[in-house]
């Protein structure tokens, strides 16, 4: 009796602790529902068992709106849900037909005309029936046409859309003027026109040999005007959105999971082997890896701490894949901040970094030591090993000594200048910085201070209008391809006049309000408008050479590599230029069901 009263008392206390204006009653309801199974909804068991891929996206995609996508997760999904005019060959990286069957360029290189396929229908997932419906207009199937491409491109450029990536389309005539809201320009002035239902024409500001790659980017995808007009910002929800790609989204539980299925109306649907794609959004890499080990994922990335175990384990090592990633890790010099304003100092710092040792002993992930900026796969990149300063500590020390002698200072005086290396806060960057700091100390006797800042703060710090006193002497950054052309690399990143120029090359004043260009800048500008591919390659080769060898304006450190594991029943690729074309993967379903059930 008394024991029972005590239980009741404790029970009440438990409640008292939890009771809250908002949910006090609801807690009671939990118990009620636990007791009676009335409200339990059980999924109807499906007789048919679709071939299913289980994968982790690693994050909630911020959007799948082609005009607004900027991150790799969103872009991957857009590539599976929508078709662009062109795409990249997964193996060679060449631009190949996709929505456009053919295209031609005018003699002066400024007008591109694309001819579209006529058999790609718009489809919409019906959340009521669970079917993929064809979009129809007056009873007729609505096929993707050139007007959809014109609308999609103009929508990205429209300042009201506020697209982050719209600047990539600035190569299109008047796009920049319209996007920046210049007086007297309207959307009609943008150089993209649907000549008829199957032909779309782009007029460019200047010749650009890389334009077919840009035309295939997500930001220029055709989008369904009628859906966007009706639904507004939220048009990208399953059931609402109309898409035209190989896959269709059926469910999106924000922050948790997403489900895609094959688009049965897509002309190539018969060749798509995986019928259902269950995508999770787990951020913690070690948790995703545990899911993989438990056969709950078919492929995932290998977290750095698991690397040694994966390579040693007989099963995991057979499932392990190391692949190149089109990104470059580099250390930039602030070229107008003493002592980094002297080329001998920059060369000494660059030549005393042992990249091979760094990759083998610190990174351990199959990265490639870099001598120049653009990685393999990018048009115009020099062959690996053909450009770049070699690791030569003796020559490096001699160069630094020459500088010290000329300035009449000792190494102690040099160290008193408090040379600073800065990176954004991350364990990986800290390890690399510590290793390089050690190399500089051993090879040059230089004491460098390492600092780190939170990402957003860091990016603001290393802008090229930060007062020179607040700039670190050396800073790290990475760069990944938007489109696979050197223009996107040496020109857009390093050109003193037209690029981001965080290296502060050619600055007249401290904060680079005014710059003078030099041979490198002229080369990259010229190569961008040059039509002949062979000439472009030569121009970019010289530009790469000047920047890393002659000016030693930065230290290219390594080209990224990806490290993944994939179950033996999954056949997947790692496209040269990145991305994930889920619809091209295949699963040995018998093997998977045998292993997982």
């Amino acid at each position: 009796m008394k024991a029972k009263r005590m239980t009741i008392l404790l029970g009440l206390l438990v409640m008292a602790g939890m009771v809250l204006s908002a949910c006090g009653q609801e807690v009671v309801t939990v118990t009620v529902i636990e007791g009676g199974e009335v409200i339990v909804v059980t999924a109807t068991p499906t007789v048919y068992d679709p071939v299913t891929l289980n994968l982790n996206l690693g994050t909630e995609p911020p959007t799948v709106d082609p005009a607004l996508s900027t991150d790799t997760t969103s872009v991957d999904l857009v590539a599976n849900l929508f078709m662009g005019l062109t795409r990249f060959d997964p193996v060679t990286g060449a631009v190949i037909p996709w929505l456009a069957e053919t295209w031609e360029v005018s003699d002066d290189g400024t007008i591109y005309t694309f001819h579209l396929r006529t058999d790609i229908p718009w489809v919409q997932y019906n959340t009521g029936t669970g079917e993929v419906d064809l979009v129809t207009v007056d009873g007729a199937t609505r096929y993707v046409n050139a007007y959809d491409v014109e609308y999609g491109t103009k929508r990205t450029i429209d300042p009201v859309t506020a697209s982050d990536y719209s600047y990539v389309l600035y190569i299109i005539k008047n796009a920049q003027a319209v996007n920046s809201g210049e007086e007297g320009f309207t959307l009609d002035d943008i150089g993209v026109t649907a000549l008829d239902a199957t032909t779309v024409q782009f007029e460019l500001e200047s010749p650009a040999g890389f334009f077919p790659a840009i035309a295939g980017m997500w930001i220029a995808n055709p989008t369904p005007e009628w859906v966007i007009t009706a639904a507004g910002e939220n048009w990208i929800e399953p059931g609402t959105m109309a898409t035209n790609g190989p896959l269709v989204m059926t469910e999106w539980v924000h922050g948790s999971e997403m489900t895609l299925i094959v688009n049965p109306h897509w002309p190539g649907a018969g060749d798509i082997q995986i019928e259902r794609y269950e995508l999770l959004m787990i951020q913690e890499a070690s948790t995703a890896f545990a899911l993989y080990e438990n056969n709950e994922l078919d492929s995932t990335g290998v977290p750095l701490p698991e690397m040694d175990r994966v390579k040693a384990d007989p099963v995991l090592s057979a499932e392990y894949v190391n692949y190149a990633d089109v990104c470059t890790y580099y250390y930039g010099f602030t070229n107008n901040k003493p002592p980094m304003d002297d080329v001998r100092v920059r060369k000494a710092f660059s030549m005393s970094v042992d990249k091979v040792s760094l990759v083998e002993n610190v990174l351990k992930g199959g990265q490639i030591p870099a001598g120049h900026f653009a990685p393999p796969g990018i048009f115009g990149t020099p062959a690996i090993g053909s450009v770049g300063l070699d690791y030569d500590p003796t020559a490096a020390a001699a160069l630094l000594q020459e500088y010290l002698d000329e300035m009449g200072i000792t190494i102690e005086d040099f160290n008193a200048m408090d040379v600073t290396l800065m990176h954004n806060t991350s364990e990986g960057h800290a390890m690399i910085a510590a290793a390089i700091q050690q190399m500089w100390l051993e090879n040059l006797g230089v004491e460098v201070r390492v600092e780190n800042q939170e990402w957003g703060v860091y990016l603001t710090t290393i802008q090229n209008d930060t007062p020179l006193a607040d700039m670190p002497h050396v800073w790290r950054l990475g760069w990944c391809a938007d489109y696979p052309d050197e223009n996107n690399w040496v020109h857009e990143v390093f050109n003193a006049d037209a690029g981001a120029n965080r290296l502060r090359r050619g600055c007249v004043d401290e904060v680079c309000a005014e710059v003078v260009t030099s041979r490198f800048d002229d080369l990259t500008a010229q190569a961008g408008v040059e039509a002949d591919p062979a000439t472009r390659i030569e121009l970019y080769f010289e530009a790469e050479q000047i920047l890393s060898e002659i000016e030693a304006a930065y230290i290219p450190i390594y080209f990224y590599a990806g490290n993944s594991v994939a179950k033996p029943w999954l056949t997947r690729d790692f496209p040269l230029l990145g991305g994930n074309n889920f619809f091209e993967w295949e699963i040995d379903w018998d093997a998977k069901t045998a292993a997982t059930r």
């Binding site: 008394k2 009263r5 206390l13 438990v14 602790g17 939890m18 809250l20 204006s21 006090g24 609801e26 807690v27 309801t29 939990v30 636990e34 409200i39 339990v40 909804v41 059980t42 911020p62 959007t63 709106d65 607004l68 900027t70 300042p159 506020a162 697209s163 982050d164 719209s166 600047y167 920049q176 920046s180 809201g181 507004g232 939220n234 539980v253 924000h254 922050g255 948790s256 999971e257 999770l280 787990i282 951020q283 913690e284 070690s286 948790t287 545990a290 899911l291 438990n294 709950e296 939170e454 990402w455 957003g456 703060v457 990016l459 603001t460 710090t461 802008q463 760069w479 990944c480 981001a500």
Partner: protein, 345 residues
């Protein structure tokens, strides 16, 4: 009593206002805005201007704050149309609109909270139930058998529970129960929206419980250890009070002395910490949710800062504040019941 409650609830308003204004200003003080960069790339100023115009970040800060509180249409009215409401503009906190997310471009903060808060609430309630269910009895037993082996064992376990962080327990659980033994799924949460009454899972079968056990226990053990220590200390102190000696000398049965006279009083400190604890636990715990891949609200507290998503940070902070002041009010009301000397009239 009713007057007291009304007075307290009215008192929430200045608290919420103060928190709102502090958060609003502080997030904007951090260098770097939400749209300055895409990856490593600094966006051209014209593009930043387009995006800032869309989210009204180009307005003066005080106008932005008024818009956040009262809505864009009120701002338009107050300024005589100088600042206009545009499509997708905020209707203001006062009407329950927390605005659009700046990072998840197609979602509103309300959607994000609606999707993630119920899951954190479910996990939090389960963890608290474990924490209280184990902690209070363990604390009582330890206090009643002070300096016996029972006490030492309970205290040892409690110290262990407090000192081993969930970031250690979590992966150990996954390794042991999911990968080695194969009893439980590795991660994720077994319920998804829509929820009954906004937070109760529709399916409370094995699918739910198998996934809920590990994170709830990982989170609950630390709580139970904390609660047990507090209960023990408090009960020991109460047992030395004069009125307990009086009760015993009256010849009352030991059980009556403990349960009716000692225990009720000794729970005051436990209930006191329960308010803030509740608010903190049900709004999401970043580490446990990350380890178990749970789509809770914890990550939004952490990631919205890195993403400079001013709106999400404001939203989750205000929700946390509301829960905290609410829970504290309930705690205060519970005092009156636990200790008859406390009155609110």
């Amino acid at each position: 009593m009713t007057r007291y409650i009304i007075r307290r609830i009215l008192g929430f308003i200045p608290v919420m206002f103060a928190v709102a204004i502090f958060t609003f200003v502080l997030v904007r003080v951090i260098p770097g805005g939400p749209f300055d960069f895409v990856g490593d790339r600094a966006l051209p100023p014209s593009i930043v201007a387009n995006i800032e115009a869309k989210y009204h970040l180009d307005w003066p800060v005080h106008i932005q704050f008024i818009s956040y509180l009262l809505g864009d249409d009120v701002v338009e009215l107050l300024t005589g149309g100088e600042y206009e409401m545009t499509a997708g503009g905020s209707r203001g906190l006062i009407r329950g609109d927390l605005g659009p997310s700046l990072f998840y471009r197609s979602q509103s903060v309300n959607d994000i909270i609606k999707g993630s808060f119920p899951i954190s609430l479910q996990l939090g309630i389960l963890a608290l139930a474990i924490g209280i269910g184990i902690g209070i009895p363990a604390g009582i037993i330890a206090a009643l058998r002070q300096n016996s082996w029972v006490d030492y064992t309970a205290t040892f376990v409690a110290v262990l529970g407090v000192s081993i962080p969930s970031m250690v327990i979590g992966p150990v659980f996954i390794w042991l129960f999911a990968i080695r033994l194969g009893w439980l799924p590795v991660a994720t949460w077994g319920a998804k929206p829509p929820f009954i009454l906004g937070f109760i899972p529709r399916n409370l079968g094995w699918e739910f419980w198998s996934k809920a056990i590990m994170p709830s226990v990982a989170l609950g053990t630390g709580l139970s250890a904390y609660i047990a220590r507090l209960t023990r200390a408090s009960l020991l102190q109460v047992l030395r009070e004069d009125y307990i000696r009086t009760a015993r000398s009256k010849g009352l049965h030991e059980r009556v002395v403990i349960i009716v006279h000692a225990l009720k009083n000794s729970l005051i400190p436990v209930v006191t910490i329960m308010g803030p604890l509740f608010a903190a636990i049900v709004t999401g715990t970043f580490i446990v949710e990350q380890i178990f891949g749970i789509n809770g609200m914890g990550k939004h507290f952490v990631m919205s800062v890195g993403n400079r998503d001013y709106q999400i940070l404001m939203g989750v902070t205000l929700l946390y504040t509301l829960l905290l002041v609410g829970a504290n009010l309930i705690v205060d009301l519970t005092y009156a019941w636990l200790d008859p000397r406390i009155r609110f009239d």
